[in-house]
């Protein structure tokens, strides 16, 4: 499917800040069968935008604003062609990926509770286990915006029983990993024509690695596989590897964040 994305992030400050450094992972990936047809990034105040590719082919853009300011805006527009499902290009994991996607990470620590939870759903076949886990996370967690924040970890989400897409993905990743199934976090967008009230456009889900057949991509928030409505921005061990924007600045100001995303089929 051909999709157009318009993503505007505005950071406002109650007093002047300076020397602001911002890093963004906002360009749709050219991987997994997905193609980024165009990408445009504008910032305000304007700065020279620099770019690099991470090892896992995530595109990172960054810029700095040294002069004092009270408002910083980042506006990205992109056109992307999505496949009907993730088309895996990888049949064997590198030793590092094997390690990274199996070991506990910042947001998906190893704990007894997650292990007990996951063990209940183990099937004979890894693929079946992953689907059973997705269903379990979907039914066990309630989608409640505001119940968690950007720092909540998988074990706390499980205890709490509620969260948003980021939390669903983290619980699912932690569950897969303690069953010996490599799993990674996906940050992206969702085109949701029949919006059921669950988070609009910015989205997070996960990939699981099935030995012999490769990566499959699942969305525990919606209990389904990735479809052509999903746009992938970046993959990592968990949220902390791939935040859409991240920054530091000099000053004692209080920051207010406003994000507006729209995804339209073309």
């Amino acid at each position: 499917m051909r999709l157009r994305i318009d993503h505007r992030t505005t950071l406002s400050y109650d007093q002047q800040i300076s020397e602001a450094y911002t890093e963004m992972r906002l360009k749709p990936m050219d991987a997994g069968g997905q193609r980024c047809l165009s990408f445009n990034l504008v910032t305000e105040p304007r700065g020279e935008i620099m770019q690099y590719l991470e090892r896992r082919r995530n595109d990172v853009r960054h810029f700095d604003v040294l002069a004092p300011h009270t408002r910083l805006m980042v506006h990205s527009t992109s056109e992307v062609l999505t496949p009907i499902k993730l088309i895996d290009e990888e049949h064997e994991l590198s030793p590092l990926d094997q390690f990274d996607f199996l070991m506990p990470s910042t947001y998906t620590p190893e704990d007894a509770k997650t292990r007990r939870f996951a063990t209940t759903f183990v099937q004979d076949d890894a693929r079946d286990t992953v689907f059973a886990l997705m269903h379990a996370v979907y039914t066990h967690l309630k989608y409640v915006p505001g119940a968690t924040d950007v720092r909540t970890k998988a074990d706390d989400v499980l205890t709490l029983g509620q969260g948003v897409c980021q939390d669903f993905a983290h619980v699912m990743i932690a569950s897969c990993r303690c069953q010996g199934i490599p799993a990674r976090y996906v940050s992206g967008y969702l085109n949701d024509p029949a919006s059921d009230g669950r988070n609009g456009a910015s989205h997070a889900w996960m990939d699981a690695f099935i030995p012999g057949s490769g990566w499959i991509s699942l969305d525990p928030t919606h209990n389904c596989e990735q479809t052509e409505n999903y746009v992938r921005l970046a993959v990592g061990r968990d949220y902390s590897d791939v935040p859409p924007t991240r920054g530091v600045f000099k000053g004692k100001a209080k920051e207010t964040l406003d994000v507006q995303v729209s995804v339209h089929p073309l």
Binding site: S18, E19, P45, R46, G47, V65, L66, A67, P68, H69
Partner: protein, 331 residues
């Protein structure tokens, strides 16, 4: 030179000078006030605190003005950020943070001075401070001497000179302000008035130089003129300002980059102050007009301090190259 280093050198120098000035003021008045009557003495001690500008702080910590209380307050009371102890601690901390920019001799002297006051027997000092006071004074002057003799006379040196002279000028103005107000109420030529004039001169180590210049005539106007307008005496306000202006001039021109706005401003402000004093007739500002003049000087000195800070220490990031400057304008 790193902005932070320049700032540390400047403040190191100011704090050392401040410690010496406060000590000198205490030394001179300690003896003079022991001879005075009780109510005069109380007032005298209060005037010492006024010179440092820390009256409100003093009142919060001590019920009355006495030799012991004022000495304690000015020497090392923990509430007083301008106490000699606090000044020397600050001076040493600043020196320590730029240890590699100053000479070994400077660092050794500042360390000795710091340990001198840190480890001194405090009650013994309060009983008989003379020996201690001269040690601090000697230590500070020795530091300034080795600074002159062992540090390259480059940019860092000029910041040290600048800090020292701005601090000195400020202290001399404050001494003049407080003491002049007292003398002004007395009858010229009486022993009390003379005593005050001598104390005023000695507070700036100016007694003997003054006597050499003006022989035996101890007149209020002459004393005021000397402390304010002398271009030879190193603690006179005008002398200090001229020296500070020269330092700013060197700092601002010793570069291929055109002077920044802020640097130009501090140069201009100092120039204006010097010019005003150079063409001043002391007869025009005697009596009631003295205080407003001195207040104005203090205000301008603060302004110069701020302008120097903005020009050299807290520089707004000025980007090299035309492309970046364009970006600055857009914002």
């Amino acid at each position: 030179m790193l902005s932070r280093v320049a700032e540390s050198l400047y403040w190191m120098s100011r704090y050392i000078e401040r410690a010496e000035d406060i000590t000198r003021i205490l030394t001179v008045n300690f003896h003079a006030l022991l001879d005075a009557r009780l109510e005069d003495s109380q007032q005298g001690w209060q005037s010492l605190v006024s010179i440092t500008g820390d009256d409100p702080l003093y009142k919060r910590n001590f019920p009355e003005y006495s030799a012991r209380n004022v000495s304690e307050f000015l020497l090392w009371h923990p509430s007083n950020p301008n106490a000699v102890m606090a000044c020397l601690t600050q001076a040493r901390e600043n020196a320590r943070s730029v240890r590699e920019q100053i000479s070994i001799e400077m660092w050794e002297h500042i360390n000795k001075l710091y340990f001198l006051i840190k480890e001194v027997n405090r009650s013994a000092v309060l009983r008989g401070p003379h020996e201690f006071f001269s040690q601090v004074r000697d230590g500070s002057q020795a530091f300034q001497g080795v600074t002159d003799a062992t540090l390259t006379h480059g940019e860092g040196y000029e910041f040290i000179i600048l800090g020292k002279h701005l601090e000195r000028a400020e202290k001399t103005v404050r001494i003049l302000d407080v003491k002049y107000a007292t003398v002004n109420t007395m009858v010229e030529g009486t022993p009390e008035a003379s005593l005050q004039l001598v104390a005023m001169l000695k507070s700036c180590s100016a007694f003997e130089p003054f006597r050499r210049e003006y022989a035996s005539v101890l007149q209020t106007s002459r004393v005021a003129e000397y402390m304010l307008l002398s271009q030879q005496f190193p603690r006179a306000v005008l002398y200090c300002l001229l020296r500070a202006q020269r330092a700013v001039g060197v700092l601002a021109t010793d570069t291929s980059i055109p002077m920044s706005n802020q640097a130009a401003r501090s140069n201009r402000t100092l120039g204006r102050m010097c010019a005003e004093l150079q063409y001043l007739d002391i007869q025009d500002v005697l009596g009631e007009k003295m205080h407003p003049l001195l207040l104005k000087q203090l205000r301008l000195m603060n302004l110069v301090g701020d302008e120097i800070t903005r020009a050299y220490f807290n520089t707004q990031v000025i980007l090299p190259g035309p492309k970046s400057q364009q970006q600055q304008q857009q914002q």
